[in-house]
Amino acid sequence: MSEQPVMVFQDVVKVYPLPAGDVTALDGVSFQVDRGEFISVMGPSGSGKSTLLNLMGCLDTPTTGDIYISGTRIGDMSDIELTNLRRDRIGFIFQYFNLFPLLNIIENVTFPMMLKSQKAVDPEKGKEVLRSVQLEDSLFTHTPTELSGGQQQRVAIARALINSPDILLCDEPTGNLDSKTGAGIMDLMTELNRKGTTIIMVTHDPHIAEYSRRTIRIADGRIVS
């Protein structure tokens, strides 16, 4: 028996009702992501990339069609269930790192763990993951603003990995980094994928997309290739 796909989109339509008239951001999108894949989603501005990312990240639900994350249909889920799904199954990596400025590096990384366990957690697990993204031990007690962009993105990756998610969802992960640092981050992502992490990366940069093994191209709310 083949392994269950980590994500399935079936004829997904997303319509935003606006006073000036409904806007169809996604129009019958279907695809599936298998475990261990490294996919990039590309498309021009206004093509529906962000909408697709929000739906993949369970931040939104489709107007019609079905989305399954690790076999679970998200369409009928409550806000609490969707939030738990994001916490346990999905790791987010953002363009602007989006670390919490009030927390130090270890606390930032273990934050999703604390959400899951509802109690104080062992910082060792955080340190372990931080080491796996090649961050020096001396930086663990610093605050995010004391780190470089590349270091911050490594921390963000560690935070995304801490709850061992099924999917790592990246939104322009190198968009705010210089090319050299960006290449370092992409090497890290490739390494993570090689070790079995499923990665979906939204980008408009074809060089970055080259790191992935499959590319979904989207235009006018439809998958074109």
């Binding site: 939030t83 994001r86 916490r87 987010f92 400025p101 606390e107 934050f111 959400l115 935070r159």
Partner: protein, 396 residues
């Protein structure tokens, strides 16, 4: 939990803003609690000066609706309670004791060559005196050559048990020996003895040619039902509405009215203090809204990585609670100091400061401070929790 920690750090990082919000709460708590302390101390102080009249009903001659003014010597110069009326009162009051009281103001001299002074003299049946008065020194007076004196009178004129007082302008009404000194009673509804003399009914009648025409009658109600006694006496003596004979005052009801009036004054001044708390609440609301607005993106990140709405909400509620608890605690301590200062300045005494009522006033002020903070923090927290994560993430 991490949200508590974030709330603490956010307050620390915005220390000036948070301190100003706290200051509002401190002022609010101090205003409410110190006004409460002042009111309570005022009531305690009044209660202290009003004697422990116990449960008594005071009957005075009907004075045309002018009411009874206690302690006013000769207030009913031409109005008396006749012996017939007294006997009626006595029958209604039985088995409680009804004490007839004579009262006048008189010139007197203490010692040879001393100045002429004027004081109130009460004439009471000697057998009833122990029911009405307690002594701090000496013995009760049963004879016509002795008297009891009030503690203020004794102190003012340096009198002791055994001292002599010449009654009348030139001592023409004889000399009385001090047999005992009455315990302090304070301001009283029946007889105010602190600066007065108490003589026997017989001496009074002989000296002033009085014959069972009393200035007032005091009924000591043993079962405490002063209201019932008042009704019974009025029913018996004031049968005709157009021809009332007596005014009847229920000491307990009067005392209750006085306390209730002071209570209302306390509530009123506390409510004025409460206005400052409302202003503080607006400040907290403003601070919390600012806190939410400047952290919209952070809230979006939290929600996107799996933070529940209630957890986001708790973070802001904690922040409001910290401001409330710290502000209210400082306010509570300061209100004790303010209450001390105000009591010392306004009432010239601080002996009524450490009472349960005052502790409750402080607790009330602090509780109100915390509740206001939580209430004013609730909407911003709710708003933060219910932000759309997608919009919040896009926020710059």
């Amino acid at each position: 939990m991490i949200f508590w920690e974030i709330a603490k750090r956010n307050i620390r990082i915005n220390v000036l803003r948070s301190s100003l919000a706290m200051l509002g709460i401190v002022i609010g708590v101090v205003a409410i609690a110190s006004m409460g302390i002042l009111g309570n101390s005022l009531v305690a102080s009044v209660a202290d000066s009003l004697s422990s009249v116990g449960d008594s009903v005071i009957i005075t001659p009907y004075s045309g609706g002018g009411g009874h003014s206690f302690g006013s010597a000769g207030s009913s110069v031409n109005l008396k309670i006749t012996d017939q009326n007294f006997q009626q009162i006595k029958r209604v009051a039985a088995p409680n004791v009804a004490i007839p009281v004579y009262q006048t103001a008189e010139h007197m001299k203490i010692g040879v060559g001393s100045d002429d002074i004027v004081a109130v003299i009460y004439g009471l049946p000697p057998e009833d005196v122990p029911d009405l008065l307690k002594l701090q020194d000496g013995v009760y007076n049963n004879g016509n050559s002795g008297c009891l004196i009030g503690p203020t009178f004794a102190k003012d004129h340096d009198l002791k048990v055994g001292s002599r007082i010449s009654i009348g302008t030139n001592g023409d009404k004889g000399t009385l020996r001090v047999m005992g000194i009455i315990e302090e009673r304070g301001m009283s509804f029946d007889i105010s003895t602190d600066s007065a003399l108490v003589v026997t009914k017989e001496w009074f009648e002989n000296t002033y040619n009085r014959d069972a025409d009393y200035d007032q009658v005091v009924v000591k109600v043993k079962d405490g039902d002063t209201a019932g006694m008042k009704i019974a006496i009025e029913k018996q003596l004031n049968k005709r509405k157009d021809m009332k004979i007596v005014n009847v005052m229920d000491s307990k009801a009067t005392l209750a009215t006085i306390y209730s009036t002071f209570g209302m004054v306390t509530t009123f001044v506390t409510a004025i203090g409460g206005i400052s708390m409302v202003v503080a609440g607006v400040s907290i609301f403003n601070v919390m809204m600012m806190s939410v607005t400047e952290r919209i993106k952070e809230i979006g990140i939290m929600r996107s990585i799996g933070t529940q709405k209630k957890e986001v909400m708790s973070m802001f509620i904690y922040e409001a609670a910290i401001i409330g608890v710290v502000g209210s605690t400082i306010g509570g301590v300061m209100s004790v100091v303010a209450g001390y200062a105000i009591s010392a300045l306004v009432l010239n005494t601080t002996k009524h400061l450490f009472t349960i009522a005052n502790a409750l006033s402080v607790a009330e002020g602090m509780g109100f401070g915390i509740v206001i903070c939580l209430a004013c923090g609730f909407y911003p927290a709710w708003r933060a929790a219910n932000l759309n994560p997608i919009d919040a993430l896009r926020h710059e």
